[in-house]
Amino acid sequence: MIKVIGRRLAFALPVLLATSIGMFLLGAASPMDPAKQYAGAAVFTMSEENLAQIRANWGVDDPLYVQYLRWLGNLLHGDLGWSTSRHEMVGDVIAARAGWTLLLIGITLGVVLIGSLVLGTLAAYRRGGLLDRGVRVAAYAVQSMPSFWLALAAIAVFAIGLGWFPAGGLTDVRSTGVDVADVAHHLVLPVAVLAISQAPWFLLFVRDSVAESLREDHVLAARARGLAGRTVLFGHALRTALLPFLTLVGTHLPELVGGSVLVETVFSLPGLGAVSVHAALGSDFPLLAAITLITTAVVLAANLLTDLAYTAADPRVRIDG
């Protein structure tokens, strides 16, 4: 167990470091002048001395490595910097919005996992059957649909056409506070769209690995012992088919994060996605860098979690370590 954590951390820290260096270099190569960005519209009336003063304050003209170390030091102290696109502290921006993104991704992940496990297992059990073929054709088609387009189509049908769900936002415009039922109602479409757009990969994986597992010796042996179909399917076939699935869930998370950026933007949810896009349009390096780094850290942490789950699920790893 400790070995697994150690191995993951030994991988995660260089990844984060390398990512931060890479991003910093890209930011330094950017033609944007942070001082001018900071000044905003005032830049046109500002004197050259004032601009130089801002530059000096920011240390923009220091050597790159000095700037990088200062930035990194600030990050480690919890000072994420000043967002030039939103004109507030990066930490505050993220703190106010990360929760909603986590909520969206968390619920979606749950829906995707449960849905793909059930459907994929059933499809595998009745290989070549109607459900199997339907699921595979649908998965294949959905895979070609950009998630933002799927989101717009869902809005056109379920929000504009049928009027069942709101087209965007997180709470009703008339409401004053945050009401759980209201939020849930607003989240149905975004979660459904994100889940459907991410599901094909999970679904096909479960389907294929359970189908393969059903022909394996230990499953045949379990059937030969006269165990009930449910026991064979869930206790023997699915159980072993899922071992590789666990780690792959972790590796697929970055994809889910990307999808959430698009879906949040379409549904105008107040999460990190819309903020990153806004920040990108304004070339807001501190905010974008912080969001990318934090997301990477969260993805790596999730990878660690799935590794631990794998370790707990597979006695071969648990015991040999």
Partner: protein, 374 residues
């Protein structure tokens, strides 16, 4: 004595992309209660397919023909399968017959039990001509294993009436379960006390302490004994043992063989599939020699080992270390390209022109070493 299992004209073919594998052809065999029948042959001659065919465990691309009637071990009250035949499909509303109680014991909330029923109904390998309900159930509680369908096999045959010691136990054990959990699960599924696990393990020659280990922690021999214990746990009237002695050292081979022999002496039947002639000689009542998908000689063990009739049998015996120790030259034909005549002709010292036609009879040879009356 009445037959327990009667196989008539069993054929198994596999359709591949560009070929057809003839794994079993025109196979006739009978097994009586108390009989230990050994099916011997080189690996790849179709022995294991025979076991899987009888239990309906073949993959979807297998084409099975013929009949395999399994008679009730004690022809008393009609078996659970005939009762169940009258039940409508997927009916979870009606009270279950007594025979079903064993499997319904473990948490059957409405949803999951309905689901599992549906799952079992969807057979991977469902022979044609199987209507709804228990098709293939013959008179007097006999079941045609090849026609009765997945539902009957899963509910009343596998484990209950036919047990299987699978080939290659290392892969046949679910890796995430300890031996004790596997054994307890099987005992519970058949309505027996899971506390019997230790006793069953000892019977199979496995130290109960080793039950706490995961399959990957077991040696090949230990895994083999655990697989044997799992098959014995259900105490089936017919036990199919597919190479049960591979990976065991001599004392354990003898232990396992004696175990099978004792089962037969107690009235159960064993179908021993092996490539080990010495093992067959030690315990078998009757021996069927298989070559290139066909039975070439089927005779009482004592007769066969004393004076083999088929040249192939003789060649196998000559290869034994305590006999001539002369290996048989050449290779058996590919199961995708079997010759129209005698498949052994290419390797046979007694070959003649008539061997281009297929021989028949209890000894499938045109030039047997001894005459055997039909």
């Amino acid at each position: 004595m009445k037959n327990l299992l009667v196989i008539e004209g069993l054929g198994v073919r596999f359709r591949l992309r560009d070929a057809t594998v003839h794994a079993v052809s025109d196979l006739d065999l009978t097994v009586r209660p108390g009989e230990l029948l050994a099916v011997v042959g080189e690996s790849g001659c179709g022995k294991s397919v025979l076991a899987h065919a009888l239990l309906g465990l073949l993959p979807a691309n297998a084409l099975v023909t013929g009949r395999a009637l399994l008679h009730p071990a004690r022809p008393a009250a009609p078996g659970p399968s005939t009762q169940r035949r009258t039940l409508p499909r997927w009916s979870s509303v009606l009270p279950r017959p007594a025979g079903d109680r064993a499997e319904s014991r473990r948490g059957s909330s409405g949803w999951s039990s309905r689901l599992s029923r549906r799952l079992r109904d969807s057979a991977e390998h469902q022979p044609e001509g199987t209507g709804a309900g228990g098709g293939g159930v013959g008179s007097g509680g006999a079941v045609d294993l090849l026609a009765c369908g997945e539902k009957v096999l899963a509910r009343s045959v596998r484990g209950r009436r036919i047990g299987l010691i699978p080939q290659s136990p290392a892969t046949a054990l679910t890796v995430v379960r300890t031996g004790r959990r596997l054994l307890a699960e099987t005992l519970t599924a058949h309505g027996r006390d899971p506390g019997l696990a230790a006793q069953v393990a000892i019977e199979a020659g496995l130290d109960p302490a080793d039950l706490e280990r995961y399959p990957f922690e077991l040696s090949g021999g230990m895994a083999q004994r655990l697989a044997t214990a799992l098959a014995l746990a259900t105490d089936p009237p017919l036990l199919i043992a597919d190479e049960p002695t591979s990976g065991l050292d001599r004392p354990l081979v003898d232990h396992t063989l004696d175990l099978l022999r004792r089962r037969c002496d107690a009235g159960a039947a064993v179908l021993l599939i092996t490539h080990d002639l010495a093992a067959a000689e030690r315990v078998a009542d009757t021996v069927a020699v298989m070559y290139a998908s066909r039975i070439v000689e089927h005779r009482p063990a004592a007769d066969l080992f004393r004076s083999p009739a088929h040249p192939y049998t003789q060649a196998l015996l000559n290869a034994l270390p305590d006999r001539d120790f002369t290996p048989l030259p050449g290779h058996p034909p590919m199961l995708t390209a079997l010759p129209p005549g005698c498949a052994f002709a290419a390797r046979c010292p007694r070959v003649s022109e008539t061997c281009a036609t297929r021989p028949s009879g209890p000894v499938a040879c045109h030039h047997p070493l001894v005459e055997v009356p039909a």
